[in-house]
Each structure stands twice: as structure tokens, then as C-alpha cells.
């Protein structure tokens, strides 16, 4: 791992010179997806659950069905808009939970040191050795399909992803003179950590959370695709793809490919955004 880090840094250094177009496109796409999810009841041309066997598997561009229909005649565009809600809210829940837990544990490990740090770090290493999707499946095996249990499982799984970065950032930041001076002035440890240390590592936290959001979205969509996530009639992009499987083999792939594209573009956009945030932190660090 010691060799990977400078290698990645060299990469981002070369990238830094050109950025705006991809970044603007990514931000615009995420904004559009979020808005369509929020405003789905207003924007969607039809009810996402209205079936019509006469209109089944209409190709994109059909009058009244801009993105076509699925095998039961439901409007793909409307389902895509409504599906955005669960597809975005569920990973957001994962990121909020794991971000909070990771920040608390990371700060605690870095500031307490000693055996607290040893126990927390080892624990995070162990959870990290668990592939997150496997952890989620293990929980679903106990709880049955549904989104709540996998959200909690993934939150646990991604806590070390955030916690390890927070810990090492807090270690670096904590070694700086200003931290010592606050302590000399008699401020309590929790106050210094939250009021003065946290703001300084916040950009890194946001960048890491953005990456975690992309991973969580992929994992949750994969679970729904496997029939282990969202329970019908609720739908997200993953379950839309799952229901389109037979239509794809019949040569009518759009009802699966369109939500698949939505997942792909959302994850790419989130990654671009997260990388930019990570890159700008590096720039600030080097300038300082």
C-alpha cells in the first residue's frame, strides 16, 4: 500500500490541470436526478404502477411513452422518476449513518490513542475485511427482503471506510501546533476535537462520503436486482432492471438498460465530484 499512495497522487496531479467540463456535467446530472426524484409526483407523465397489457414493451419514442414501457405496460420514464427516490434516499441513509459513526470512532481513536486506538483500529480492520455486499446479504438472510436491514448493514460495513481516513487525518492535524495551544489554553478535549479539528478535516470527510455514496448506491441496487432489497410494489432502479430480465432476452432491452444507465451515470457523477473534492484538498495541503 505504501507504493500505491504516491502513485495515485501523481495521477491526480496530472489530472488537476483540466477539470471543469466533467465536473459541471456531473453536478448538473446529480442535480437533475435529485430534482426529478423530489418532484416525481408533479413531473411524471403517468402513475408508475399503472399497467396496461395492450401497451406492453412499447419502444422508446412511442407517443405518450417517451422512454417506452416495460413488459406489463408501465411507463418507464415515470417509474424511473419515482425509482430515483428510493435509489437516492437509501444510499444517503447509509452515508449519513456510516459518516457519523466513522467520524466519531475515527476522532476517538486518533485523540484517545493507546489501547482505545488499538481496539478501534483492529475492529475497523476486521469489518473492512468483510465485503460489504456479503455483510448486507447476511443480514437479509436473517431479516428477509427489505431496505432497512441492508441500509444498517452497509452503514456498519462503510464505517471503517470513513473512520480510517478520519483517524489518519485527525492524527496529522492533531500533531500541528495549534491543537496543542488550544489544549494549553485549557479547552476540553471533546470541545477541541469537534470545534477546531473537525472543521479542518471536513472536506476530506465529504470527499470520502461521496465515494461511499456511490458504492452504497451500487450495493443497494445490486441487492434489489437480486430480489433481496426493495419489496414490491415499491421500486428502485435495481428492481426495475430485475423485472426487465425476461424482456431483455425477448429483444426489448430498454426497460432494463435505461435504469441501468441511470445507476451508471449517477455513480460516475458522484465519483467525479468526490475525486474533485479529494483533489482540491490535496492542492490546499501542498500549497500550505
Amino acid at each position: 500500500m505504501t507504493l500505491t499512495i504516491p502513485a495515485l497522487r501523481a495521477r491526480s496531479a496530472r489530472r488537476r490541470r483540466r477539470r471543469p467540463l466533467g465536473l459541471v456535467l456531473a453536478a448538473a446530472f446529480l442535480l437533475a436526478v435529485t430534482l426529478t426524484g423530489l418532484l416525481a409526483p408533479v413531473l411524471a407523465p403517468r402513475s408508475p404502477d399503472a399497467t396496461s397489457l395492450l401497451d406492453s414493451l412499447a419502444p422508446p419514442g412511442t407517443a405518450g411513452h417517451l422512454l417506452g414501457t416495460d413488459s406489463t405496460g408501465r411507463d418507464v420514464l415515470s417509474r424511473l422518476m419515482y425509482g430515483a427516490r428510493l435509489s437516492l434516499i437509501a444510499p444517503l441513509g447509509v452515508v449519513l449513518l456510516s459518516g457519523t459513526a466513522g467520524t466519531v470512532l475515527g476522532l476517538l481513536a486518533a485523540r484517545a490513542g493507546g489501547w482505545v486506538d488499538a481496539v478501534l483500529s483492529r475492529g475497523m480492520d476486521i469489518v473492512f475485511s468483510f465485503p460489504s455486499l456479503l455483510l448486507a446479504m447476511l443480514v437479509v438472510a436473517v431479516s428477509g427482503p427489505g431496505l432497512l436491514a441492508p441500509i444498517c448493514a452497509l452503514a456498519v460495513g462503510y464505517t471503517p471506510f470513513v473512520g480510517r481516513v478520519v483517524r489518519s487525518a485527525a492524527m496529522q492535524e492533531g500533531a500541528r501546533p495549534y491543537m496543542e495551544s488550544y489544549r494549553v489554553m485549557g479547552f476540553g478535549e471533546p470541545w477541541v476535537a469537534v470545534r477546531h479539528l473537525l472543521p479542518n478535516i471536513l472536506p476530506m470527510l465529504v470527499a470520502q462520503s461521496a465515494l461511499a455514496f456511490g458504492y452504497a448506491l451500487t450495493d443497494l441496487a445490486a441487492l434489489s436486482y437480486l430480489g433481496l432489497g426493495v419489496r414490491p410494489p415499491a421500486a428502485d432502479w435495481g428492481s426495475m432492471i430485475s423485472q426487465a430480465q425476461s424482456a431483455i432476452l425477448q429483444g426489448a432491452p430498454w426497460s432494463g438498460l435505461i435504469p441501468g444507465l441511470a445507476v451508471l451515470l449517477t455513480v460516475v457523477s458522484v465519483n467525479v465530484l468526490g475525486e474533485h473534492l479529494g483533489g482540491s484538498i490535496g492542492r490546499k495541503r501542498e500549497g500550505a
Binding site: 501523481a10 437479509v140 432491452p253
Partner: protein, 320 residues
């Protein structure tokens, strides 16, 4: 480094790996105990059982004992390669898994070869050529890295099976050549994300080595380009590539759950998915334990191999 420090370091790493697997196995066993209410209800998932059968289930899973005793019984059996009995198939979990290892093993190996082969090749070519090739490769790597396995699977199905009809959509085929043909699309789907990561990390590693003074001096003095690249660039960039490749190959095992389901393959991954949805807990526990074991083993082996491949990596991370 002396032979003794080396042995001590290997022993420490191996012990760490064993401890990690043990902790993970407690987590796997404990997941069952975390269920609110009676674990037997989760275990049997609504199946009607006679009181005797329920008692047998309790006994089999050590639920009539304390947590520690139950866990020790389970892990003890697992160490003797007895992973219990499936609720759904009524057969031993171990034989269920071993019967499916052939397909899954070939699939993982096939996609690892594709990901590592194409990933390193694209990384090297883009790092050496630079310019437009480099930029195109970088975009391709970004997109493929973000491509979820199931999206890749349905995309390939739509294009190459349903659309062009070049590859079969389901089944694993008979005989070696037929099997490879059947497993090509699944292997490609599984390797796409890993390819992207390797292309990026490899490109960065190669680019860094290419920019080093001794490489530039060698090239400017007219030493053969290919020889310099082979001897100085590729060899020195192997470390980070191997680390990432190890992580990726281990994660391919989990990716096989998605791909085997999408392509209707009868492997360990699809067994995991169907067992999760049927709440066939013994099978899920068994596969999860094997997956974590593989994951930790591969990563530990890669860690142990690094100092031998790259002398700049010192044992225990000292001196760097």
C-alpha cells in the same frame, strides 16, 4: 533483514489473518443471534415443523446452549469441514458448495485473467503513449470503474445474446470449450469494474516509473525502449498493481453472486443468493465463512509476497 526477523514478521501477519477470520466468524455466527425474537423462527422461516424437529434445530445450532458454547460447536464442526445441513436441500452444506465450485472457480479465474491482462495492458500502453490515448483510456477507466456488475451483465446480455446472438444467455455448457464459450459474457461482466481500477492504478504506477530520472536517462541515451520499459518500468510498478489485483480478485468472488444469478449459472454465488432469499441460514453462513477466508487469505498472501517482488518494500513497513 535476517531470516529470523522475516520469520517473525510472517508469523505475525499469519496470526493477524487468523484472528481476523476468527472475529469475522463470530460476526457470521452472531448475525443469527442478533435477530429480535426467537432465532428458530428466522432459521426455519415459516416452515411448519413438528416440536421434535424444532428441538432438533435448536440442538443442531446450539441454541439450547449459551452463545459461546454454540459458537464453539459451530466453528469446531466447520474446521472439520462440516458446515451443517441445508434446510432447503436437506443435504450437507459442504457437498452443496463443493459441487458448485467448478463453475464458480473457472468463472473467477477467467474474469481475473481478463481484468488483469487487459487492465495492465491498457495501463502500460496509455502511460507510454500519453496524449489522446492516455485521455481516452482515463475516461474508459473512470466509466468502467463505476459500472455495477449487474448493469454490465444486462448490457452484455442485451447486446451479445439477445441482440447479436453470439453468446448463450444462460447455462454453463458441457465440455471445456463449450463451458468457456458459455462463461465468456459472465466473465467479461464480472471483470469490467476490476479492469477499470487496474487500468487507473496501473497507469498511475507506470507513469510514475516512466518519469523517474534513470528511465529518462536510459531512454535519452538510446537504450531500447522495450527493454527499458520491461526492466525498469514494469518491474518497479508491480508492487501497487499486485496489491490492488489481490483486493480485486477477492472481491470477484462476491461479484459472482450477481453474475451467476444474471446468467442463470449454477455456481456458489447463485447458491448464496437463492439461500439468502429462502433464509437457508446454514448455507449462507457456510458460504460467508468461505468468502471471508478467501478474502483474508488472498490479501495476506499479497502482503507477504510484496517484499520478495519489490526489495524497496521493507518487512513490517520499517525504514520507509
Amino acid at each position: 533483514m535476517t531470516a529470523r526477523t522475516l520469520a517473525a514478521w510472517i508469523g505475525k501477519r499469519a496470526l493477524g489473518a487468523v484472528l481476523t477470520v476468527l472475529a469475522a466468524s463470530i460476526l457470521i455466527y452472531g448475525a443469527l443471534r442478533l435477530v429480535p425474537g426467537d432465532p428458530v423462527l428466522a432459521l426455519t422461516a415459516g416452515r411448519r415443523l413438528t416440536p421434535e424437529q424444532i428441538e432438533a434445530v435448536r440442538h443442531r445450532y446450539g441454541l439450547d446452549q449459551g452463545f459461546l458454547q454454540g459458537y464453539l460447536g459451530w466453528i469446531g464442526d466447520a474446521l472439520r469441514l462440516d458446515l451443517g445441513t441445508s434446510f432447503n436441500y436437506q443435504t450437507g452444506v459442504t457437498s452443496l458448495i463443493t459441487g458448485r465450485l467448478g463453475v464458480s472457480g473457472l468463472l473467477v479465474a477467467y474474469s481475473a485473467v481478463l481484468a488483469i491482462g487487459f487492465g495492465t495492458a491498457v495501463a502500460l500502453v496509455s502511460a507510454v503513449k500519453g496524449g489522446l490515448v492516455d485521455r481516452l483510456a482515463s475516461v474508459a477507466a473512470s466509466v468502467t470503474t463505476a459500472t455495477p456488475t449487474f448493469v454490465a451483465a444486462i448490457g452484455l446480455l442485451a447486446l451479445f445474446s439477445a441482440g447479436l446472438g453470439w453468446f448463450p444467455a444462460t447455462g454453463a455448457g458441457d465440455g471445456f470449450a463449450d463451458r468457456l464459450w458459455h462463461l465468456t459474457l459472465p466473465a467479461v461482466a464480472m471483470s469490467i469494474a476490476a479492469f477499470g481500477v487496474l487500468a487507473r492504478v496501473g497507469n498511475a504506477a507506470f507513469a510514475e516509473e516512466l518519469g523517474r530520472e534513470h528511465v529518462e536517462v536510459a531512454r535519452s541515451r538510446g537504450a531500447g525502449g522495450a527493454a527499458v520499459i520491461r526492466r525498469h518500468v514494469v518491474r518497479n510498478a508491480l508492487g501497487p498493481l499486485l496489491t490492488v489485483a489481490g483486493l480485486l480478485v477477492a472481491s470477484l468472488f462476491v461479484g459472482s453472486a450477481v453474475v451467476e444469478t444474471a446468467f442463470g449459472l449454477d455456481g456458489v454465488g447463485s447458491l448464496l443468493v437463492s439461500s439468502v432469499s429462502r433464509q437457508d441460514f446454514p448455507v449462507v453462513q457456510g458460504i460467508a465463512l468461505i468468502a471471508v477466508l478467501l478474502f483474508v487469505t488472498v490479501n495476506t498472501l499479497v502482503d507477504l509476497a510484496l517484499p520478495f517482488i519489490d526489495p524497496r518494500v521493507t518487512v513490517g513497513g520499517l525504514g520507509r
